[in-house]
Amino acid sequence: MSPSPGDTGTTGPGPAALAVETHGLVKRFGHQLAVGGIDLAVPQGSVFGFLGPNGSGKTTTIRMLLALAAPTHGAVAVLGQDMPRSFRTVLPRVGALVEGPAFYPFLSGRANLHRLDAADANSPAGTRAARVDAALDRVGLTHAAGKKVRAYSLGMKQRLGIANALLAPRELMVLDEPTNGLDPQGTREVRSLVRSLATEGTTVFVSSHLLAEVEQICTHAGIMRAGLLVAQGTLAELRRDGREQVRVLTPDMARACGVLARLGLVPEIAVSVPTDDDGGLVRAPVPERRGEPADIVAALVADGVRVRGFAVEAGSLEDRFVELTGEGFEVVE
C-alpha cells in the first residue's frame, strides 16, 4: 500500500502500523466457543474483507473490536490502542455499522443522526447540522431526511446506518455486511463509497459472507471458519495459496482421466459442469513440480483424447474460500 494523502500517521509508528490487531482473541458464551483464538492483522490504509459463513464468529469479533463485548482471553488493539480500555479515545475515530442498522422509528432520519452524534459528549455541536447533512448527502438520503425512519425501506435504513458511520472524519470504518438489503444500484454505491473512503486514507474493515463483494473492493482479506481465522493476507497471497488447476474439456472423459493419472496428476470429472454432446470437464490440481502444460495436451492427443478446450487456471478466491470454509449451506455450530 502506498501511503495515501489523508494518512496522518497519528496512530502508530512505521509504515507497517496496523489499524486492527488481535492476539489470541477468544470469546466464549457459556460452553460455546464463538471465537477461538484469532490473530487479526489489518494494515492501515487497507480495505480488509472479513469473510466467513454465517455463524463463523465475524460479528462477535467485530463487537469485541468496538468494546461492545469483552474478550474472554486475548488482546485487542484498535488504531494502536488497547480495547476495550481506551474506547473513549479510539471510538470517536471509528465509524461503525454493526449487525444491521437500528434507529428510533418515531424520529426522522436526520433527527436520528443528530441524536447519535450528540451521544458522543466530545462531538462538536456547532458543526453537527452541517456534518449530518453532509453524511446524508453522501449516502443519497437528502430527499428522505425529514421522513420518519418508520417509513424507510430496509435499503434506506442501511444507507442511514452508513451515514451514521460517516458523521465525522474517521480513521477506521467497520462495516458489518454493509450491502444487506440494498438493491444492485445501492450495492454499487456502497462499493464506490468504500473505494472513495480508501483513497482518503481511511482503513475499511468490511465483513461479508459474499465473496464477490470482497473480491471487488478489498485489498486484503481474512477468512473465518467456526470461530477460527483460517487464512488472512492480501488477495494475491490468498489466491496464490490456492493451487492451480488443469482443466480439460473433452468428450472422452474416462480416457483423459487415464492419461492424466499416468502423468502423475489426480484428475476428477467435474460434476458441477453438465456433460453434453461436447463432452465434460476433467480437472486436476497441478502437481508441485509442474512440467510444461503443453506436454499434457500432447500426451492427451497422442492417446486419442479429443481435446476441445484446455486451460491452466490460477486458483480462484472462490475455490480457496470453499476449500477453507466447506461447501454448502450448513451453519457452523
Binding site: L66, R88, L91, A96, F103, A119
Partner: protein, 249 residues
Amino acid sequence: MLAALAAIPVLIAVVVRLSAHVPPGRGPVFLDRITQNGMFVAATAMVVAIPLFLPLTVGVVAGDTVAGEAGMGTLRYLLVAPAGRIRLLVVKYLGAVVFCVAATLVIVLAGSAIGALLFPVGPVTLLSGDTVGAGQAEWRLVLVAAYVTVSLAGFAAVGLFISTLTDAPVGAMAATVVLAIASQVLDSLPQLAWLHPWLFSHYWFDFADLLRQPVTWDSFGANAVLQAGYLAVFGALAYGRFASKDVLS
C-alpha cells in the same frame, strides 16, 4: 402516559360533579370534600394515583431505559458513538426522574385546573386545623408533588437496574411494576413489621406532615434518606451489571 395521568383528576372531578351526593367517609381520602372546595380534586387524585398509576407509568419508563435501547438495537450505536456506559446510565436515570417530576406535577396541575373549573375554590382547612388561602394551598400541593417525586426516585433506580438485566423492555417494565405492587403488599402485612421501614413504598402515603401548619419535614427527610439508599444500592448494582455487560443486541 402523562395524558393518562392527567385524566385521573379530570375523571374524579367530572364523576363527583355529576353525582348528586357523595356520602362522607367513603371512597378515597378527601373525596367527600371536593364539592365544597375544588382544591381537593388534586389531593384526591394524588391519593388514587400513588398505589398503582404512578408506579405503573414510572415502572414503564424506568424499565424501558436500557432494555428499550437494547431491544431496538440502538444501544450498540449509542455505545459505539461512544456515549460511555456510566454517562448513559446517569442520563437515562435523570430522564426517568424528570418523568417522575412531570407525572406528579401533571396530576397536581390538572387536578387544580379541573377543580377550579367545576367547583368553588376557597381557603382550605389543613390537618392541623389552621386555614390557609387557596394560593398557599396550591403551594402545599406542589410540595406533595415533590414528596411523591422523591418517593418514586428510589423505585426508578430499581427499574433502571432491572432494565440492565434484559434486552426485552416489556419484561423489565413488568418486573419493575410487579415489585412496586409486591412492596406495598408486604408493607400491609403486620407480621413483617420489622421489614416495613426498609420497603421503598413504606413512606409513599406519609405526606400528611406537609399539610400541617407549620410544615414538619420529618417524614420528608426519612423518605428522602430511604430513597437515597435505594438509589445508591440499585445505582451501584446497575453500574456493576452494565459496565461489564456484553452488548449483543
